[in-house]
Amino acid sequence: MSTPSPLHAVHEALGASFTDFAGWAMPLRYGSELAEHKAVRTAAGLFDLSHMGEIELTGPEAARALDYALVGKLSAVKPGKARYTMICDADGGVLDDLVVYRLAAEKYLVVANASNGPAVAAALRERAEEFDVTVDDRSADVALIAVQGPTSAAIIGAVTDADLDALAYYASVPTTLAGHDVLLARTGYTGEDGFEVYVDGPLAADVWQALTAAGEPHGLVPAGLACRDTLRLEAGMPLYGNELGADLTPFDAGLGRVVKFDKADGFVGQAALERRRDADVPERVLVGLVGTGRRAARHGYPVLDAGGAEIGTVTSGALSPTLGHPIALAYVPVAVSAPGTALSVDIRGTVAPVEVVKLPFYQRPA
């Protein structure tokens, strides 16, 4: 039995198709996922992301605890700012990728993927034991609503007095929105300008309706998880379970920059990640591939070299709704990872040519 989002009745009234996502029944699409994708690129989309995990760390040593528990240096993040980071195991394998908001000097909000939320909360509790900090998993109580797209600032601006010009990318501010207390953040997973609204579950429907009304003149449409996946793929953003997993380090995914070694007290996974950083030849790296035609290489499909030998694996792929051609993320050997390299993919027995490209596939107009 899937857990319903606090917005379930709203989605049902909108005629959503639901999907089970990590034990949550979440909207997959409301109508056409291609139309929803396009709306986010050209106007705005309204997403329910209440399945995401929200874990609060509060206490005098919250910063020190997170510096030890995560690969990032969260003590260096100023209150009101956020950071993309990861939690790794002792072997350097990625347990989850996270967005961590510093809400105050002694208070952080860790946002985890739905599938990993309980494991992340458990790991944080265990790793925080030696520190003066309280770990509170609020995932079941907190709803998350995102407004993403070029008109999102106009929409959010209509329902809050918060100064959005002062709210930079990866910043957050506690404010009121539609009369309710929320945490408003300028973050997202679509490659567009956008906002995420953290609000208590019982208030979520009210906030959703207020955003829907405010968004009407700005082309806002409800958008499901199907288009969220194609949006993040076009933006070259990794998805845990596809590009990231416990068998991979942040360096494998090309995200070694999130690992900060200059932390006084060390961190979980440090020794293994130092070895991986210093290795002369990484075994594989994540690259972008583009193809022709309409057939996409998908998760798990083999990547082949010029001689037809299997050399890598596709982790995510789709026919890009914005670009009109197939795109994919794949792990391949470093020797064939340079942009412009010609490779091919095995699409259920048909060999299709692809070219390595620089990520992201899509970047929003400046």
Partner: protein, 127 residues
């Protein structure tokens, strides 16, 4: 949308128009189209291809997934819907009309479902 009563259906969500068994039109149902999401590519069998009932004869790709297309009947493909190649979204917008996939010369008899039997089947499918 109502399901046409003149058509026959399969448990794999194809439909066949049996009116002309020498060129019976084949497509996928509204239920299949809705479950797939936006169709972005359809791989059809070639004209002249010999089909075995219940065996895969093509593929339908949506943004999120790939599904086999099963031959609803045995026979030989006599025509394909060329429009589907460039506008695969016809499968979503008009699954029982312009979204038809191919025509087949039926060989032998086929066990197909009536509209009532099919509707009962998708109800059991749990959606």
């Amino acid at each position: 949308m109502s399901y046409p009563e003149n058509l026959r259906y399969t448990e794999e969500h194809e439909w066949v128009d049996p009116a002309d068994p020498t060129a019976a039109m084949v497509g996928v149902t509204k239920y299949a189209a809705d479950s797939l999401g936006d169709v972005v590519f359809v791989q059809l069998p070639d004209v002249g291809a010999k089909l075995t009932a219940g065996e895969p004869c093509g593929e339908i790709e949506s943004t999120k997934s790939v599904s086999d297309l099963y031959a609803p009947v045995a026979g030989v493909v006599v025509e394909i819907n060329e429009a589907i190649v460039d506008t695969p979204e016809l499968v979503n917008t008009d699954p029982f009309g312009d979204g038809w996939l191919f025509r087949v010369r039926i060989e032998g008899t086929a066990e197909l479902l009536s509209v009532d039997e099919y509707l009962e089947h998708i109800k059991e499918d749990g959606s």
